[in-house]
């Protein structure tokens, strides 16, 4: 068992290891063939008007498609023939495609969730649980019948039947089914590592577990529900955006419907098919068709980072975060301190100090101990040596002596906490140089930990152990600052040490000697000043703060209480991931804004295609091909039929073209709001106005070349 623990810790906290960056454990290609196949079918199933009625924009398109189909059939029955019938038929066809494309976009996004849900479902256990009965006897019960408060026993090889808390024993558990992480983790009674998840597997020892979830409410059940979108509720911004596009749809409905009487007054006949085409081109079909796909994909992106968001609202709130509270240890710094420098007392050579320090640490398997061996080797060429086992006596660290070391013939080497070493030296009747204390104080001031080293009860000097800030953190904090997000480091260290580390890591502020209630007070203070706060936590005493924070990310390794208090759970238990979550939240909102802007801006070009075509014969005089408003056709589209068709086809194809953007999110760079706005306005606003012109022109050329529309 010990080996497993060590392996695990080594893996997680090996000195000098790169910071655990985001792992896209659940990444899958954007267009996974099985998902695409399923989505194609779903797109047709979504043609059901009851499904469409939930989306006002697409419902209008659906009605438009139905009406134009009827018009087409009517034309066929009445043998109207010619370009008119071909035109109405093509309009109907492309309008149906528009509805299908939007359905396909949504189905693709949902399909990715479903694929994940299927994987999760496989892990749902169907085995029998060993339930402890009222009299202490063990009975076999189906896992699905377990209720809150039941006690079960899980031995080696057992799958834990449901979510629970370890109340007795310790075990290593394989949680790869939910985290994708193959290294096993320790779960033990009491403390912050007591929560177990249904579907995970005990691989050593045994535990007694109290079940904390009723059937259908377990973690895996919730995960399946979330990724499948079964519990997906519209987020606040999505609701507001839906109102906006529904409002625009009604306004455009008015603008097109009143053209009938206006046309009548002007003495021009306006074809219903053209009116429908104009309406569909004007209403924001691009965003209307992609809106739900964007939301589902956002949740999916969070999931790909192995974070489980309890609601879309939480992901959205992450984009709004102003303040990030980050625990120092494990988030900003590596979990352990490392030897950075040897500081000898006057009269002692560095070489001797390094040599003694290395000797004392040879048997020290802690990361700190090994870092001392490595530093001595790298800086002073001292190789680890082989000691004769018979003559060597290792002195292990104890809480009483607070020292460790080694005795070899003629040499008694000790290292330990400065005060402990001073007491040890004094007790042997040797005087302690005053410099020992002053060097130690200086190190404390710089945010480090001093370890004193003695050889035969004579102090040699100090080893400077330093908190190691994870590589790349400064850049990430700079990015966050550029986005307007303040980072606050939370630490139990004294203010001096905290300030030094804060400075080195580049966080904006710190909270030193923090107790859980201080954290809570800080969150409330920031919120009162109008800021949204995000934090990570794992312990039970983090739970109130996790609940208070606007975005609370609980570590999966944490307690049940913490997981229930937060609105996200990080399955990898990597607190640094908070930064990715914030970025995903921002990207989600940006994508919605960008596609809305693009959708509205597109209307300008579509007007210039359809209005001249619609009124092509208005106030026409004999001998002219077209009336005066044809002058607005500055794209020089071939004919009214080809112009309207080109606009409608563009409108349909743009949905397909933007599916990758909807699923992946708009390209995101950490910048201030003003810069982001300028950039996105240029790309999606100005781009939205300009892009359709060449494409509509091109589609018009193709339509005429393929004889789908008349050339004049």
């Amino acid at each position: 068992m010990t080996t497993i623990v060590n392996n695990h810790i080594d893996k997680m906290e090996a000195p000098g290891a790169p910071p655990s960056g985001p792992h896209l454990k659940r990444a899958r290609p954007l267009f996974d063939p099985p998902i695409v196949r399923r989505a194609l079918g779903d797109a047709f199933r979504k043609l059901d008007p009851r499904v469409q009625a939930k989306n006002p924009v697409m419902f209008v398109v659906w009605v438009g498609s139905a009406v134009s189909t009827i018009l087409f059939i009517q034309d066929l029955i009445e043998h109207v023939g010619g370009w008119e019938t071909a035109f109405v038929g093509q309009i109907a066809l492309w309008l149906w495609f528009t509805v299908l494309f939007a359905g396909f976009a949504e189905a693709i996004a949902e399909g990715r969730g479903k694929a994940q849900a299927d994987e999760l479902r496989k892990t749902r256990t169907t085995t029998l649980a060993k339930k402890v009965g009222a009299n202490g006897q063990i009975e076999n019960v189906a896992a699905s019948l377990l209720r809150k408060g039941d006690i079960v026993i899980c031995d080696v090889g057992d799958v834990i039947p449901s979510d629970g808390t370890v109340i007795e024993g310790i075990a290593s558990v394989d949680e790869s089914a939910i985290t994708g992480e193959s290294a096993p983790v320790i779960r033990e009674a009491g403390g912050d590592r007591s929560a177990v998840t249904g579907g995970t597997k005990v691989i050593s020892d045994g535990i007694k577990v109290e079940i904390t979830a009723n059937p259908g409410e377990t973690f895996i059940d919730r995960m399946i529900g979330l990724v499948e979108g079964a519990q997906r509720q519209k987020t606040p911004n999505e609701i507001a955006l839906n109102i906006l596009i529904a409002g625009l749809t009604i306004i455009f409905l008015l603008a097109t419907a009143t053209l009938l009487p206006f046309g009548q007054y002007a003495g021009v006949h306006i074809s219903i098919a053209v009116l429908i085409a104009l309406l569909v081109c004007l209403i924001p079909t691009t965003i209307g068709g992609l809106l739900s796909a964007i939301g589902i994909a956002g949740m999916d992106r969070v999931m790909q980072y192995n974070v489980l968001a309890m609601s879309g609202k939480a992901v959205e709130a992450a984009g709004d975060v102003d303040v990030l509270l980050l625990d120092k240890t494990g988030t900003i710094t590596l979990g352990n301190r490392q030897a950075a420098e040897f500081l000898p007392l006057p009269g002692v050579s560095v070489q001797d100090l390094a040599d003694a320090a290395q000797l004392s640490s040879l048997a020290d398997e802690t990361p700190e101990g090994r870092s001392i061996v490595v530093l001595a080797k790298e800086q002073y060429g001292l190789r680890g040596r082989h000691l004769d086992e018979k003559t060597t006596e290792f002195i292990p660290f104890t809480a009483q002596t607070r020292m460790s070391g080694v005795n070899i013939p003629g040499q008694r080497v000790r290292k330990g906490a400065v005060q402990a070493v001073i007491d040890y030296v004094k007790s042997s009747g040797v005087s302690v140089p005053i410099e020992l204390q002053s060097i130690a104080d200086e190190i404390s001031r710089r945010g480090g930990t001093p370890l004193a080293v003695t050889l035969n009860e004579r102090p040699l000097g100090i080893i400077y152990l330093k908190d190691v800030v994870k590589g790349g953190m400064r850049e990430r904090f700079d990015h966050l600052r550029a986005m307007g997000i303040k980072t606050i480091m939370i630490t139990g260290d004294n203010p001096l040490t905290a300030a030094a580390i804060a400075q080195e890591a580049g966080v904006d502020d710190f909270l030193a000697q923090a107790k859980p209630e201080d954290k809570m007070a800080l969150i409330k203070k920031e919120q009162a000043e109008g800021r949204l706060v995000a934090m990570t936590g794992d312990g039970t005493n983090d739970a109130p703060a996790l609940a208070q924070a606007d975005v609370g990310v609980a570590m999966n390794s944490g307690t049940q209480a913490a997981k229930e208090a937060g609105n996200m759970v990080d399955l990898d238990s990597n607190p640094t991931k908070l930064i990715e979550i914030v970025e995903i939240g921002k990207q989600l909102l940006m994508t919605r804004g960008a596609l809305t802007t693009f959708s509205i801006a597109n209307d300008v070009a579509k007007y210039f295609a359809i209005i001249p075509a619609m009124f092509a014969t208005l106030y026409i005089t004999s001998g002219q091909t077209h009336g005066p408003l044809w002058a607005l056709n500055f794209m020089h589209l071939h004919s009214p039929y080809s112009a309207v068709l080109a606009a409608v086809i563009f409108n349909a194809l743009v949905i397909i073209a933007l599916i990758p953007v909807a699923l992946r999110g708009v390209p995101y760079r950490p910048m201030g709001a003003a810069q982001v706005l300028r950039r996105n306005l240029a790309v999606w606003g100005l781009g939205g106005i300009l892009v359709p012109f060449p494409f509509i022109w091109l589609l018009d050329q193709i339509l005429v070349a393929l004889h789908c529309a008349p050339g004049v």
């Binding site: 911004n237 104009l278 209307d603 709001a673």
Partner: protein, 594 residues
């Protein structure tokens, strides 16, 4: 186009720029009840009014109470005005003995609505319909109150944005009293004097019949014109004493008064932007709004001036002399314009009066070239947010700002915020509701009026006993120009502008009723959603600003605001406009007119 013409427009804009800050400071002080140099004189009056009206001046109203107070005040004064107009025969100051025969019930309804809603659409000619009493009491009181109500609503909305976690948006009775007492009345007193000095008339004389040089006889009307004139412009009311409005020499005698009038129309609207900045604690926010408004104004006036100066190519083609100079302007389109103002003075006035919801005119918009006439039409279509009506301009522009922030704000990756207040579903719903109602009234009204057959045309729509049962039978022009006239009428009524493209005989029961309803819809169904936004915003916490916050106090935002006004405005109305002025423009260049 001449340098003098452009300089006149430039001078106007520079004076406006200089006035914005002092007026804004004064507005802010007055509306917050701070001491001004007028307090020693007007303070006791203000307190007396509150005592008389039983107003608790420190009571803070939630938006619902505020809206109810506004509605109650409007309904009561509307009914009183309707009564007074109908009964003018029995009231004093009526030397011409106008009675209920001139002021029919439908006209009285239309007129009472028109003045209550700050529209001042006039289906009547002042000099042949209403007594001096009606002018001075029934109509002028509304000129003050409707303007003050506009200021009150705007200030309520601004308070909603400025306050945090507050229940109320101010006190309607206090706001309307202060706006009238400290701002409108003193300024009108001064400007009325200036108008009198310049030659505007101010008397109670009966109309005089004089013999002209040709030996014919002419009736010269009189009346208390100068006092009406001041509030007409300052309160962006626009209802003229005479039918010819500011083209009449008794109303607008000189180029100087012309410049004064356009400045008065914009003065309070421009000052409101600065007051807004003061309220929200960052004057740059106000200047951003001012910038967006200025840009739209300058574009509009330039297009109108250029188009009118170019004139109608068909006239020049017929060999008409286009070299005659008027106010330094040579040729161009002078039809329907006053020689003493010229094209620059006329197009400046036309742009300003429609940017604002004033509706006073010094030229015939109907006679503008198609694209020149498109400018006033489009200005009203934006919702008159280019400085706009007193108060109404600011609250309309803030509605656009909220929509702009919502659409573009998402693009910075945060829940959109305006001035630290989150823009959420409720605000979007209310802003869209307002936009929808305006579009519905303008487009729907035009649609109904252009194709509806009237059941009993002899009663509902007859002007000269015509047998034509179309509502549009009253429209004098056909084709695109006739369409423009109908569209402009509903545009003007819904937008509470009150100017007319003319060309329609609108004093019939059908038109009086239809346009009256459009005015009511355009005023109150716009104000109520905006007050709802004010109430909801006031309740919200204010989010702290950071570099991640969408900036709304810079050129970029002003540009975005312009884009939103143009796109949201243009997108809904482009098809209609293309059937009116746009096609008429192409036809004119093709040699056809209507």
């Amino acid at each position: 186009m001449t340098t003098i013409g452009w300089l006149q427009i430039a001078a106007f804009f520079l004076i406006l720029l200089a006035l914005t800050k002092p007026i804004g400071i004064f507005l802010h002080r007055v509306m917050e009840g701070e001491r001004t140099w007028l307090t020693p004189v007007l303070g006791p009056v203000e307190r007396a009014i509150y005592k008389l009206g039983g107003v608790k001046h420190d009571e803070d109203m939630p938006w619902t109470v505020y809206a109810l107070a506004l509605l109650a005040f409007s309904v009561v004064t509307l009914i009183i005005t309707f009564g007074l107009l109908r009964l003018q025969a029995w009231l004093p100051l009526n030397p011409q003995h106008f009675g209920a025969k001139e002021m029919t019930p439908d006209l009285a309804f239309n007129t009472a609505v028109s003045f209550t809603t700050n529209t001042n659409w006039q289906a009547y000619a002042g000099e042949s319909t209403v007594s001096y009493f009606s002018q001075m009491v029934s109509l002028a009181s509304h000129n003050f109150f409707s303007a003050a109500a506009g200021i009150a609503v705007a200030i309520a909305l601004v308070r909603g944005l400025a306050r945090k976690s507050a229940a109320g948006v101010g006190n309607f009775w206090v706001d309307i009293t202060r706006a009238t007492l400290y701002i409108l009345l003193p300024l009108c007193l001064i400007f009325a004097m200036v108008f009198v000095q310049q030659g505007a008339i101010q008397n109670f004389h009966p109309y005089q019949t004089v013999t002209t040089l040709e030996g014919g006889s002419q009736i010269i009307p009189g009346g208390p014109v100068a006092s009406q004139e001041a509030i007409k412009e300052l309160g962006t009311n626009g209802g003229g004493f005479f039918n010819a409005n500011s083209a009449h020499p008794f109303e607008n005698p000189t180029p100087f008064t012309n410049m004064l009038q356009v400045l008065m129309i914009f003065a309070i609207g421009a000052g409101m932007t600065y007051a807004f900045g003061l309220y929200v604690g960052n004057v740059r926010q106000g200047w951003a709004i001012f910038g967006a408004m200025s840009f739209l104004f300058l574009i509009g006036v330039s297009v109108a001036y250029v188009q009118e100066a170019k004139g109608n190519p068909m006239i020049a083609a017929q060999g008409v002399d286009t070299t005659t100079q008027t106010m330094g302007d040579a040729g161009g389109n002078m039809e329907g314009k006053e020689i003493r103002f010229g094209q620059a003075g006329a197009t400046l006035f036309a742009t300003v009066t429609t940017d604002a919801s004033c509706g006073a005119v010094n030229s015939m918009h109907d006679s503008f070239t198609p694209l020149g006439g498109l400018v006033p039409m489009a200005n009203i279509l934006t919702g008159e947010v280019i400085f706009g009506g007193v108060g109404a301009g600011l609250y309309g522009m803030l509605m656009y700002a909220i929509l702009a922030v919502f659409i573009a704000g998402l693009m910075v990756g945060r829940t959109p915020e305006y001035l630290g207040k989150k823009v959420e579903a409720y605000e979007v719903k209310m802003a869209m509701l307002a936009a929808l109602i305006l579009a519905g009234s303008i487009l729907g009204g035009t649609a109904i009026a252009s194709v509806t057959h009237i059941v009993n045309p002899a009663y509902w729509n007859t002007v000269a006993g015509t047998a034509n049962d179309m509502a549009a039978a009253n429209v004098n022009n056909s084709g695109p120009h006739g369409f423009s006239e109908i569209f402009y009428a509903f545009d003007s009524a819904t937008g509470n502008n009150g100017s007319a493209f003319a060309g329609i005989s609108v004093n019939t029961p059908f038109w009086n009723l239809a346009l009256g309803i459009a005015m009511l819809v355009g005023r109150f169904l716009m104000i109520i959603p905006l007050l709802a936004i004010a109430g909801s915003m006031a309740k919200k916490k204010r989010a702290a600003a950071s570099v991640g916050t969408f900036p709304t106090d810079n050129v970029l935002f002003a540009g975005l605001l312009v884009g939103t006004v143009v796109i949201v405005g243009a997108l809904a109305y482009f098809p209609a406009v293309s059937l009116g002025p746009v096609v008429e423009h192409f036809l004119m260049h093709g040699g056809r007119t209507f």
